[in-house]
């Protein structure tokens, strides 16, 4: 037995709000996740939040429509952050998407708040879920998003995480893909004092397709952790991941990607790529790609690489008359555009590319 960790005022305030039970016991014993927990080794939530005000607030949700139901969660999540979101975020807002629908969910953190939502895409339905995340100064938003994509349904999910230099954000998403379901997820992230976008995907049925891509730009003092765990439980599934990020001096990017192929998931085709661009000395990117494969007839690959701006290309562009800042921005933008350009939805793709260009100009 290890001794219980010392809780900060921030953690004690969360504990005070919790009812008696297993979750409270776990929080008292372990505290919030910190750097000595393997899955959080580059994202020290406990330490960062210990310097945040413990004041209770809420996560404001501006949704493009009313939820279809407000209900208690049927299934308890297993990890501590979504469990806290379920316990302290009030009842779960449940949305069932209609064919052709675009649901916008804008989350805004205010002081310390929790929220939980659930989105279902019924069989055969094609829909868009567009989330955006921002937070006020000193806010910590802990959000759980549960998504179920039923047989043959198609979901386009877009996540925009705005630059939040003075706030913290943890979003834990769970996606469950039915047979022949298809999900295209694209994230554009600009970081926070601490931000973690954690995504768990389960290919539960046969022949599901996941295209999960993201671009991130992190300026000074901004951190973004993109952690994902894709589990293939059904056969003939496909996963294609491409993440690219550019980090400036004093920024920190974290990529933890795992693909787990169960014995039953034969003929899985899974690819995961992460590419990082270190824009200056003093930029940091930490990455841990993992494959865990128990089926023998699969195609799986992962790649991970870091580099700096190509100095030869920079000189070439300046020789033609572009000033150094414009040439750097053009090279960085073309590097980061690739994951976004994979999007099929033209309107959303163009909007994200524009936001990316704007962000690089103001970095």
């Amino acid at each position: 037995m290890t001794a219980p960790v010392r809780l900060s005022d921030f953690e004690n305030a969360i504990a005070d709000a919790l009812p008696e039970g297993a979750l409270l016991d776990e929080l008292m014993a372990k505290g919030l996740p910190h750097r000595r927990v393997e899955a959080w080794k580059w994202t020290d939530l406990k330490t960062v939040l210990s310097r945040f005000p413990a004041e209770a607030g809420e996560v404001i949700l501006h949704a493009s429509r009313e939820p279809d139901a407000v209900a208690k969660l049927e299934r308890e999540p297993s990890m501590i952050m979504p469990r806290l979101a379920a316990a302290l975020g009030g009842d779960c807002a449940v949305y069932e998407l209609a064919d052709g629908e675009t649901l916008n969910l804008d989350f805004i953190g205010s002081a310390t708040g929790h929220r939980i939502v659930s989105v279902t895409v019924p069989a055969g339905v094609e829909a868009v879920l567009h989330e955006s995340y921002q937070g006020g100064k000193g806010s910590f938003a802990n959000i759980a998003v549960n998504i179920t994509v039923a047989e043959g349904a198609k979901l386009t999910r877009v996540i925009e995480q705005n630059a939040m230099p003075n706030s913290a954000l943890v979003v834990t998403s769970g996606l469950s893909l039915g047979p022949e379901a298809s999900v295209e997820q694209t994230t554009l992230g600009f970081g926070a004092k601490l931000a973690r976008l954690e995504t768990h995907v389960l290919h539960s049925g046969e022949g599901a397709k996941l295209s999960m891509n993201g671009a991130y730009v992190l300026g000074e003092g901004l951190h973004l952790d993109q952690t994902s765990n894709v589990r293939h439980a059904g056969p003939n599934g496909e996963t294609d991941e491409l993440f690219k990020g550019a980090v400036a001096k004093g920024g920190r990017g974290v990529f933890q990607g795992k693909i787990h192929v169960e014995r039953a998931a034969q003929k899985t085709d899974a690819q995961m790529q992460h590419r990082g661009l270190l824009m200056d000395a003093g930029a940091e990117i930490d990455a841990k790609p993992e494959l865990e494969i128990y089926a023998d007839d699969v195609i799986c690959a992962h790649g991970n690489a870091f580099g700096a701006i190509d100095e030869d290309a920079l000189f070439y562009m300046r020789q033609r008359g572009l000033d150094e800042a414009s040439a750097r921005a053009m090279l960085t933008c073309s590097f980061l555009a690739e994951p976004i350009e994979k999007m099929n939805h033209e309107g959303l793709r163009e909007a994200l590319l524009e936001r990316l260009t704007d962000r690089l100009e103001t970095l």
Partner: protein, 254 residues
């Protein structure tokens, strides 16, 4: 015109020590003239093109270079470009994700802004681009592709000349433009360069071999060896080098 006087430069190495590459180059290329700079490998002729265009990694230890009276060596590469310096690279760089036309238009307008001129409008730019591309047998489809990505050696060199036609420099430096070209590609590129001849433009053609000069017909030929111009003459000098090689000049420098 281009005036280079007693230009001396060292290359900076990662260990911090340097090696003297240019040891006092003097050369004048009046506007309207094509000057060839020929020399053996390692004589410093490519270094000269990089120093004139402002690449990092060299330390000027003496002398200077001016273009139409403006001191080039104090300027950033983009300022030199706006002042009319164009270097056709020996190895043009690939820039994934940036379409060629977008790149050239951005570059042209950046130069025009730097000179205090109005930006070129899209229809005018497109008309110029179509005309320049037609001269070089460049298709519309190629212009839409990312800069130099997936192009053959000959296509890359044609694209360099296309950019020169669009940017209309006062000084065109061709660095080993003939390297990696077969005879057909060489002819197309040479025709493009000849189309760039103008009473208002100086050209510096840097080459190891005579064969490009058969098509370009230089007014003046300079022989460079051991970081200096060892001889200057007419086109016949290039033919002499082709027959006799560089031994005489390398020996003279030693």
């Amino acid at each position: 015109m281009l005036e280079i006087k007693d230009l001396a430069a060292r290359v900076e190495t990662e260990e911090g020590d340097g090696r003297q590459i240019l040891k006092g180059v003097t050369l004048t290329a009046p506007k309207g003239e094509v000057h060839a700079v020929m020399g053996p490998n390692g004589c410093g002729k490519s270094t000269l093109s990089y120093i004139l265009s402002g690449r990092d990694g060299y330390e000027i230890t003496g002398g200077g270079a001016t273009l139409v009276g403006a001191d080039l060596l104090d300027m950033d590469p983009e300022e030199r470009a706006a002042n009319g310096v164009f270097l056709s690279f020996q190895y043009p760089v690939e820039i994934p994700g940036v379409p060629t036309l977008t790149f050239v238009k951005e570059a042209l307008n950046a130069q025009r802004r730097a000179r205090g001129e109005d930006e070129v409008t899209a229809p005018v730019f497109m008309k110029q681009a179509r005309e320049a591309a037609a001269k070089l047998g460049i298709s519309n489809e190629m212009l839409k592709r990312p800069v130099n990505v997936g192009f053959s050696g000959g296509e890359k060199k044609r694209m360099e000349i296309f950019q020169a036609l669009m940017l209309e420099p006062k000084l065109l430096i061709l660095d080993e433009t003939d390297s990696g070209l077969d005879i057909d590609a060489l002819k197309v590129v040479a025709e493009g360069v000849n189309a760039l001849r103008s009473p208002e433009r100086s050209m510096l053609v840097i080459t190891h071999y005579q064969r490009l000069l058969d098509y370009l017909k230089p007014d003046v030929v300079h022989v460079m060896a051991d970081g200096k111009i060892q001889a200057t003459g007419g086109p016949e000098l290039a033919h002499e080098l082709e027959r006799e090689g560089y031994d005489k000049y390398v020996g003279a420098a030693a």
